[in-house]
Amino acid sequence: MIRSHRARHFWFVLALAVLLPLLVLLALRARPQWPANAELPAGVERSPDDTRDAR
């Protein structure tokens, strides 16, 4: 006899409800920082940063 799948999967749903948000939070916290240098060395040609807003 087939048991009710809803009853059987209660704990599965609860586990997903805890683990998935945790994973997203940890992933967002783990996003790398993109540190800029205080200044670029003299003699190095440079261009305006066309993606500055992205970081």
């Binding site: 009710s4 599965f12 997203v24 992933a27 783990a30 992205a54």
Partner: protein, 608 residues
């Protein structure tokens, strides 16, 4: 009851359902692409399509997953279940388009089999931020493929209902993998809070609805009914049940549906043999218990489907005493006939106020109105997501790949320190002369210049190809190269030696110069990492991109102390924040950064 049952294949309801799904998808794709090209005109068509199909698949996956719990919480949503598999297959096709385009863009035309590259290019992990995200999406797509391929009832019959259902519960694993794919992929680069908020909102909706429905279901299972001396369990009274409807209860851990019809009471399993649908939430139509999910039917007295169908569900012994319904909790073999219990037909019944629908019946008026509002709400949600996701994408840079626009260059070809054409050079220009134009070279696809091109090093050559430009930096993709008729080898090696500018320690990112300067949008960051690895591995020059706090950026060409271009030894550091120490030197109008693997380390902390 008719003896001429046959399966309902296609119906006007299904056509309307498919038209609504197709219309909503077309609306989303068109709007997302329009907003994306308006807000980020620099984006390439390939990237725009990858993002459009990826976000559309994610959105449709949310719709697919919300239907189940919504029907548990409000039965008016049940018509959405009728054709959910078409919605699921549509979602899979969007995910497949996303995956196929990404596989082509990031892994084809390289030095590895594209599938091997997909699974290995991002390397190991060591931290959550470095965890490879593309294999997660690939695995999710494989699960969705299995589900889409077996979605037809042919496979349900071949695999049997329990196996089929277990396989299709894999959608939750696929969803978890997709969430991880997005969180460890796109969200690592895309910093707009609105995008993270959209993902969080979707997660909250899916999980909230499932937990809410699960708690409601658990309440039914938690009710403990005690058996009387004769083994029967009192499950309620006749007057609690509406005519042709059922009461659902849990007996010994199994759901039982107790139906009232034509002065009789019968009890059968609540679990439909088709897809485990809740029979007790159905209705008796044409003398048969009719599942609310897909309309499968069973006779209430023996739990068997009418011929020619062969499905059978377990039945339960039942009797009525003084208006009380009593059931033996032990199930009988599926299809076992049990004489229905009878009761006084004058017993009052509650009014059945719930409209009932299965796909082969016409949709009741009140449900039509409700579902017009549902489709309108979905359209509004699709528009909102398309606009928010479209405008929230990060800037992709002003690089340009003049693909298809053939240019011709002449000059001295040199293989070191990086493969480049020294244009306007007669072989005697000093490398320290900033007016000397040095043009780094790459080959087609994810490769450096071909061996035939490099064999001409030291000679005056004519090359045909296309420019790649970003800011003051440029690169040339070589289609063909030939020596000039009267060319001879340049002999002044000392003039080619880089002109030292001094030591430097810089923070920045290692990129493949070809993509960063304009072939890919984006050509940096984690979402591009696999492609950058493939390009550098194939011979595209590795470059160090350093920014300063005033909003300037410098592109430095990475060279080893031995004077050769750095490449494969840096693959595990590509697309990450790194700090490198070395010597800067000038080669014509380019600056090279002479360093080595041991002098480059990950720099994950912000500059203090």
């Amino acid at each position: 009851m008719s003896a001429g049952y046959r399966a309902v294949q296609w119906s006007p309801g299904k056509r309307r359902y498919d038209a609504a799904v197709g219309g909503l998808l077309a609306l989303y794709l068109a709007l997302f692409l329009a907003v994306t090209f308006a807000s980020r005109p620099e984006i390439t068509v390939e990237t725009a399509l990858i993002r459009a199909f990826g976000t559309a698949a994610l959105l449709l996956l949310h719709v697919v997953l919300t239907i189940g719990p919504l029907t548990r919480l409000d039965r008016r949503f049940l018509p959405l279940l009728w054709n959910r598999r078409h919605l699921g297959v549509t979602m899979f096709l969007c995910a497949l388009a996303h995956g196929a385009l990404a596989l082509y863009q990031f892994h084809f035309l390289g030095d590895r089999n594209p599938l091997v590259s997909l699974l290995t290019a991002e390397g190991g992990s060591g931290s959550l931020a470095r965890f490879p995200f593309q294999p997660l999406g690939f695995l999710a797509l494989a699960i969705l493929f299995l589900m889409a391929a077996t979605s037809h009832d042919f496979w349900l019959a071949q695999l049997t209902a329990p196996v089929w259902k277990a396989l299709h519960m894999g959608v939750y694993l696929a969803y978890a993998l997709v969430v991880a794919h997005v969180a460890l992929g796109a969200l690592q680069d895309e910093r707009a809070p609105a995008l993270a908020a959209l993902v969080a909102l979707g997660l909250a909706a899916i999980l909230g609805l499932h937990v809410g429905a699960a708690i409601g279901e658990r309440a039914i299972d938690a009710e403990v009914l005690k058996a009387e001396a004769d083994g029967f369990v009192a499950v309620g009274r006749v007057e609690e049940i509406a005519e042709k409807r059922a009461k659902v209860l849990s007996l010994g851990g199994e759901r039982v549906a107790v139906f009232r019809y034509d002065g009789k009471i019968s009890a059968i399993s609540n679990v439909c043999q088709h897809q485990n649908g809740p029979l007790g939430e159905g209705k008796i139509v044409d003398g048969c218990v009719t599942c609310p999910w897909h309309g499968y039917q069973y006779r209430p007295e023996d739990g068997a489907s009418p011929a020619p169908f062969t499905e059978r569900v377990p039945t339960f012994r039942v009797r009525v005493a003084g208006g009380r319904i009593l059931v033996v909790p032990r199930p009988l073999a599926p299809g076992t006939r049990v004489e229905p219990a009878t009761f006084d037909p004058a017993t009052p019944a509650p009014e059945d106020r719930e409209a009932f629908f299965v796909g082969y019946l016409s949709l009741p008026k009140e449900l039509k109105r409700f579902h017009r509002r549902v489709v309108g709400g979905l359209a509004a949600a699709f528009v909102l997501v398309a606009v928010v996701a479209g405008v929230s994408q990060r800037p992709l840079g002003a690089g340009q790949f003049e693909y298809g626009l053939e240019a011709r260059l002449e000059g001295l070809l040199r293989a070191e320190p990086i493969a480049a054409l020294w244009a306007s050079a007669d072989g005697t220009n000093a490398a320290g002369d900033p007016s000397l134009q040095v043009i780094p070279l790459v080959g087609v696809g994810k490769h450096g210049p071909s061996p035939e091109t490099l064999a001409l090093a030291g000679r005056q050559v004519r090359i045909l190809g296309s420019w790649i430009r970003r800011g003051r930096e440029s690169l040339f993709e070589v289609a063909s190269a030939e020596p000039l008729p009267d060319s001879k080898s340049a002999s002044d090696v000392s003039a080619a030696a880089p002109w030292p500018l001094g030591p430097a320690t810089l923070r920045g990112e290692i990129v493949d110069s070809k993509c960063y300067l304009g072939v890919m949008k984006p050509g940096d960051g984690k979402s591009h990492r696999a492609c950058a690895v493939r390009c550098i591995s194939g011979g595209s020059p590795a470059a160090f991109v350093a920014r300063d706090e005033t909003g300037s950026v410098a592109v430095l060409w990475l060279v080893s102390p031995a004077g050769a271009a750095l490449g494969r030894e840096l693959l595990d550091l590509v697309a990450e924040p790194v700090e490198a120490a070395g010597e800067l030197a000038r080669v014509g109008d380019r600056v090279i950064f002479v360093t080595e693997r041991a002098r480059i380390r990950r720099a994950e902390l912000p500059v203090s």
